[in-house]
């Protein structure tokens, strides 16, 4: 299925996972990606890792971008990646941003998070990263 859809535009799921309700940043990112010509599927708030992965597969996205400002990133990012692997969908790239201290970045990268945008990141960097993702 995925291989046959070469002409499709890039499609990315942007979501809030966990209990965190801070959605100012994620909405700015969703709008910026959309303005850059990327199809954005926005999940809304309070998603479980299971819901995010199910939506990603159902919506046939190439990447999942998650926003976390609650400090739960060390559990929730790896959990999403683990579920993608279990479902055989680990070609979907995972990236994210939020309140993520520098010292947590190596561990999250090692767990398979493709890119992280901690406080101080610019919208330009996020858009440039997303545009570099390959449509399937």
């Amino acid at each position: 299925m995925r291989a046959a859809t070469r002409t499709k535009p890039l499609r990315i799921l942007i979501g809030k996972v966990g209990l965190d309700g801070h959605d100012r940043g994620v909405k700015l990112v969703a709008r910026a990606l959309r303005d850059a010509g990327i199809e954005v599927v926005y999940t809304g708030l309070h998603q479980t890792p299971e819901q995010v992965v199910a939506t990603a597969i159902q919506e046939d996205v190439q990447a999942i971008g998650l926003s976390l400002l609650s400090g739960a990133h060390n559990y929730l990012f790896p959990r999403v990646i683990e579920l993608l692997k279990e479902q055989g969908a680990d070609e979907i790239a995972v990236f994210g941003g939020g309140i993520i201290p520098d010292e947590d970045l190596p561990r999250l990268k090692a767990a398979g998070v493709r890119a992280l945008f901690p406080p101080g990141s610019s919208m330009h960097e996020i858009v440039a990263f997303a545009k570099g993702l390959k449509p399937s």
């Binding site: 966990g18 965190d20 309700g21 959605d23 100012r24 959990r79 309140i99």
Partner: protein, 531 residues
Amino acid sequence: MDQRKARFTSLSGLEIARLYGADDLKGWDAHSDLGAPGEFPYTRGVYSTMYRGRLWTMRQFAGFGSAEDTNRRFQYLLQHGQTGLSVAFDMPTLMGLDSDDTLARGEVGHCGVAVSSLADMERLFEGIPLDQVTTSMTINGPAAILFAMYLAVAERRGIPVARLGGTLQNDILKEYIAQKEWLFPPEPHLRLIIDTVAYCSRAMPKWHPISISGYHIREAGSTAVQELAFTLYDGLTYVDAAVRSGLNVDAFAPRLSFFFNVHNDLFEEIAKFRAARRLWAREMEQRYHPKDPRSLQLRCHAQTAGCSLMAQQPLNNVVRTTLQALAAVLGGAQSLHTNSMDETLALPTEDSVKLALRTQQILAHESEVTNTVDPLGGAYYIESLTNRLEEEAREYFRRLDQMGGMVRAIEQGFPQREILEASLRYQGEVERKERVIVGVNEYVEPDEPPIPILKIGPEVEQSQAKSLADLRSRRDSFRMAGTLQALQEAAAGDENLMPYLIDAVKAQATLGEICAALKEVFGTYREPVVL
């Protein structure tokens, strides 16, 4: 003469003139629009002596890890001269979930303290004299339940609830608008809020049952005008609900309090506080005709703007916070939290929170700004801005009235959309460098050294899970289940739920169990997605 820019605007986008003078205050009346401090319309402050009588309360919001961790931070802050406590709860607690809930995984103790049971609440306030400090609790969806726990702790210590002073945030409307931590649909939430208001009006003369909050609205990206308008309109919505429930306005309105953000635009922020007091007094007078003048007075807590802090060159945040704190003081706030410089990355360390507290102490004791009341009153610019903010807020009031009130407006996504648009506008201005942010889009330094930050380990989650398992095996389950059943029956009717909640927490029902029982009666809420 050439000017640096074609157009000068406030942080919120209001156009600012080169000079303000008497012409800008045509129709403005020094008696009816300004008045005297402590008198209607309270533009100059709610007390006649303001900080000459008493300084503001220095109240640093704190909470992380376990109840013991946070108790130590409280003791530390009190030792360093803080004058009131303010509890930050973790995400699961804010959502009415126990620390051992599957949905709480990875979140326990991270952005506040985990409190799932009466035992947690007892450990949180161990050794703190509840009748001598005032405690503010930032809790909304499950506010009535955490409040019941606090009352039960006082009762066990033999302290009459009438002697407890403090504040419950208990403002669900701004949750739907901005902070997004809710449990139930709006109607049952409003009922729970009015139950706490009614309970306090009878039994707790020193308690503020609601802190009507603009802070989170501003953090979500609103302008100063939107913060002012939506917050005060939320306040009127609570007053309306309380009056409709049969309470006399003077039985509760004097105990309502407000909570505002203080952002970077010094004069706009000062004007916002002044406009808020005047607008509230006028609206309350016109809509409810209270007999007690205190029902007209807007008292507020202020917190410097977390969203103004930058990860780059974090020491600069101390300067931003100082300017914002100055605005709150010149604006006449009753209590203040100053953010710490490291809060873009994590909860603050002891050292950085001490520096934030010292910032307030320097303002209070060294700057001499406290010597006179409303020092900027009568200045053409400040009075013009105050007028402008009040007028623009009234325009929002008219639109909200037309929509049928705040609950209907929220269901239509109106305040959410207005805030999102403002946030997008601001982001665009920063990216185009129409607004300079030092260290971010100008004066950038490569390779900054990291600063020390506070770490929360996974052990809090494990120890909370263990203590909850112990609690469930030790308690009288039969009695506990009986209190939950009584609570559900009362919730299905229209009795005040506070006594039932107090019974349930005393019978060791956990926060998550009580919220689950109430969800069975009240249902849950899914927001309209606005993007």
